[in-house]
């Protein structure tokens, strides 16, 4: 086997939490507010269905083909050539997704904090750090995420608690004033973030306790849904109808915190935890990319591919994306549908074919 490290189902849950929340919390509240207005807290609940679906699909596929990743069993399911082509599609999708995520992170850091730093410096330093983590293997990535999660959740809680006195609960109304459509529309972008749970298909083969994989995957989905609902509610209660005019509402909210003129400028905390979260996110996706490439080409070691693929990811994050507006429009209007096809529909079809093949295969010997 190509990877000797093992992680626990709990570590997988933490990694997946940070994979979705990492860039999600930067990008999602602004986008959901834009489409769903005061119903923005409903969208993550609807969107989490994509996450539940992805966890179950990945788990079932892994059950049919134990100890194999998505790339390996797609060859077994639909044949050698179509399987390899499908693997290439997944590979391209994840490289583009990671590049898009890094671009969101870089635009956020460059736009809000390091206004003079060239984008490429922010992008390449992040990829370099992730490359070292991925070089260490899945265990290292798992443990880094375990290290960051308490800080991440703690600081998020502190921000929310400090905002509590300023919340105006009347901003919630009218609930579903324009029917369900706005919240469904607002759920389209977050569903692509939840669908990233398909990445569990790359992690399940390395679990020590595989049978707990689905349970922890679902717990992780619910934890993410809860996080998004709470942050969206807090933002909504604080800003009301003007939420949609901010690109990073949570950052704006944290700038608003001022306790006794003493506790101020908490946005630096927000940035610090977001950088930590995105670091784990990119490392996990990066790991999946490197592993898929090695398995696609039938190599026995994935480590030599880490730096070349990181370099390519860096290029993809600037290729064809001229500025922040373009990146944001790609991520809110194109990427959700691209993800719906690659991360939800294709795996479901794969599962269907695998299921039928196993069924007919079992009948043959008789």
């Amino acid at each position: 086997m190509i990877e000797k490290g093992r992680i626990s189902a709990f570590q997988m849950a933490i990694m997946m939490y940070l994979v979705v929340v990492g860039t999600g919390i930067i990008f999602i509240p602004g986008i959901t507010a834009k489409y769903a207005k005061q119903d923005m807290w409903l969208s993550p609940i609807l969107a989490s269905l994509a996450g539940i679906l992805a966890v179950c699909t990945a788990f079932q596929l892994h059950k049919l083909y134990p100890k194999q990743t998505l790339i390996e069993y797609s060859v077994n399911v639909i044949g050698k050539i179509p399987g390899k082509v499908l693997g290439l599609i997944f590979l391209f999708f994840y490289i583009r997704m990671n590049a898009g995520g890094i671009r969101i992170y870089a635009d956020f850091v460059a736009g809000s904090f390091f206004t003079e730093t060239p984008l490429i410096v922010i992008i390449s330093t992040m990829i370099l750090v992730c490359a070292f983590a991925v070089h260490g293997g899945i265990e290292v990535v798992g443990r880094t995420s375990q290290f960051f999660i308490p800080l991440y959740v703690l600081f998020l809680l502190i921000i929310i608690i400090l905002l509590l006195p300023d919340l105006d609960f009347k901003n919630l109304f009218p609930v579903m004033g324009n029917g369900l459509m706005p919240s469904i529309k607002g759920a389209i972008t977050p569903q692509s973030w939840f669908a990233e749970f398909l990445l569990t298909a790359f992690l399940l083969p390395f679990l020590k306790d595989v049978n707990k994989g689905r349970k922890w995957g679902l717990i992780s989905v619910f934890a993410i849904m809860f996080t998004f609902v709470v942050t969206n509610l807090v933002i909504l209660f604080l800003m009301g109808s003007i939420t949609a005019s901010f690109t990073y509402p949570l950052l704006t909210a944290s700038r608003y915190i001022s306790i006794a003129d003493f506790l101020q400028h908490l946005e630096s905390i927000v940035m610090a935890i977001w950088v930590a979260g995105t670091f784990v996110k990119f490392s996990v996706v990066y790991y999946a990319i490197v592993l898929s490439t090695a398995q696609l080409l039938g190599l026995s070691n994935y480590r030599p591919l880490v730096f070349p693929l990181g370099f390519l990811t860096m290029l993809f994050s600037i290729w064809g994306v001229a500025n922040e507006t373009e990146s944001s429009s790609y991520n809110s209007t194109i990427f959700p549908f691209f993800s719906l096809v690659v991360q939800t529909l294709i795996p479901l079809l794969l599962l269907l074919v695998a299921f039928l093949r196993k069924k007919s295969g079992r009948r043959k010997p008789n």
């Binding site: 030599p304 591919l305 370099f311 290029l315 290729w319 209007t333 691209f338």
Partner: protein, 75 residues
């Protein structure tokens, strides 16, 4: 400036190869070929992007495919 960028790109690519090469010694031919091809492709793409930053790429293909659905979101 352009030549500076190209020099920088070449430097980074050279670092990648220098870092990986000693470990690739025991590796198979296939591994060496993959690393060389991927890094070479990265170098070529980076240099092309220095000269033509607006060069159309796979992202434009994806945009073209999903644009009809994307338009629904822009309403």
């Amino acid at each position: 400036m352009i030549w500076g960028s190209i020099l920088g790109i070449t430097f980074v690519v050279a670092l990648i190869i220098l870092y990986e090469w000693p470990k690739l010694k025991q590796g198979s031919k296939k591994e060496k070929a993959t690393v060389v091809v991927l890094t070479g492709a990265g170098w070529l793409l980076a240099v092309l992007l220095v000269f033509f930053p607006e060069m159309p790429g796979p992202t434009d293909v994806i945009k073209a495919i999903f644009q009809p659905l994307g338009r629904y979101m822009e309403k």
